[in-house]
Symmetry: C2
Subunit: 284 residues, 2 copies
């Protein structure tokens, strides 16, 4: 596995891959790799001749009061894990090369970036859209892989790629979970043992929703939201930030469940913020 | 010359060119081609193996009160001119394919897009940055050509390409002028004969500035602006919209002329808005 830190070297490599007719699969990450990321790299390995992964804790997607400084960083461990999962090139650019003094250009996906996570984290998705565009331009992937856990991010990036006519595919892969159902997240390491035991209520609330909708025929968004509130409320350490029932493409709120529906939930456990979601394909 | 209207066909062609190792030169235009555009196509011909030009009157760069509807359109004539100047592929996408229903994604270059032309035309440069990004993603050029007449546009696009790490070069080519100095513009056709005789005052004002600075040693921005105001005021049909003395990279106003200085001017002649500029390299 080759480790690349200079942006110009990354461009040189992707030009070389493209000239040779290689198929470039790309997995952008903030580092602190876990099984979720590794599943994306393994998937990229299956359908690409060159697998590029990136580690970059992107400052523009963190708000001023958020955890940019304390976000877990361990590039040596990440490099080992990325290599073992099948990465050919690990791109680790420096913040000062990605956002030099005088940086000015941002990509925004209107509507999709300001609701749900975007309402709780102003500017977050503008930072995501911008860094993903920049990484895509460096790495020149044929296909890029994102996790379903960050559902809004995946929807927004797919929309951005379509709107900006980027010549690449987006593949969204299933959320990888701990045995007790907690979605893998780099932020899980911040949980105290007590908080860690409480956190799976998030996933359990979503499983109850799935069962209510798919097995019991629940179709009212209000009832789905009430079910989430009541389930999360049973765990005194976990506080609901938001839950919603929205169209899985436009993120517009739905009163009745029909078609492809996303149910995203965000909670706070102590000082840690966790998100999870379920997509429901509801027939008429 | 091949005429392409479907975006997917354009992508297929650029992929084919890239796979064959061709060098793609790209000239994006709003159509209504004049000698300025043709000089860009000829320059592209010199340094590319495939010359792609585009005709697209981009609605997102026109304000609601601007001349989107009346902007001159003549694709048959444009196609003849583009072919004769050396175009290999003429890309003429449809508005509904470029901005389908539900379009949401925009690129903005902060600071550079809201001053000067951007102050007079809110949203204009967001529209420019967005369409140029979209066309670059379709055409996949190695080099793209822009005219110096639209100085702020050229500066903003160069900055966008650098910031978003796009893997291509921007070449800015000299303004092409009529015999009496009037900068070529698709909007010149809107001038009445009387207005047309008055319009070159814009260029004469800039020549006076150049002479005052480069020959007579003028270094005060205030005196340069006064010279422009006084010169334009001698033409009763021409009204000054703005004139400025700014850094040619950051567009920040300069009180004293030193380094690379841009002097952009915009005027109204009847219902027509015209712009022109001069870049001055001022030694200490």
């Amino acid at each position: 596995m080759e480790i690349v830190t200079r942006p110009a070297s990354m461009t040189a490599l992707s030009r070389e891959f493209r000239a040779k007719g290689e198929r470039i699969g790309f997995v952008p990450t903030l580092g602190a790799l876990h099984e979720g990321h590794l599943s994306l790299i393994r998937r990229a390995r299956q359908c690409s001749t060159q697998v590029v992964a990136s580690l970059f804790v992107n400052p523009t997607q963190f708000g001023p009061l958020e955890d940019f400084q304390s976000y877990p960083r361990n590039p040596e461990r990440d490099a080992d894990l990325a290599r073992l999962a099948g990465t050919d090139v690990l791109y680790i650019p420096k913040v000062e090369d990605v956002y030099p003094a005088g940086y000015r250009t941002y990509v925004a996906v209107e509507g999709l970036g300001t609701v749900l996570e975007g309402a709780s984290r102003p500017g977050h998705f503008r930072g995501v859209a911008t860094i993903v565009t920049k990484l895509f331009n460096r790495v020149a992937p044929h296909v890029a892989f994102f996790g379903q856990k960050d559902a809004q991010q995946a929807i927004l990036i797919r929309k951005m790629v379509h709107d900006l006519e980027m010549d690449l595919e987006i593949e969204v892969c299933p959320t990888v979970r701990e045995e007790d159902g907690l979605a893998m997240s780099s932020r899980n390491v911040h949980l105290t043992p007590e908080e860690r035991r409480a956190a799976p209520i998030l996933c359990r609330a979503l499983r109850r929703v799935e069962s209510a909708v798919m097995k019991e025929g629940e179709r009212h968004a209000k009832c789905v939201l009430k079910l989430i509130q009541e389930t999360v409320a049973t765990e005194p350490l976990v506080f609901l930030d938001y839950a919603a029932v929205v169209d899985a493409e436009t993120l517009e709120p739905s009163d009745r469940l029909q078609g492809s529906i996303l149910v995203p939930v965000a909670v706070r456990v102590g000082t840690t913020r966790l998100i999870d979601n379920v997509i429901l394909k509801v027939e008429e």
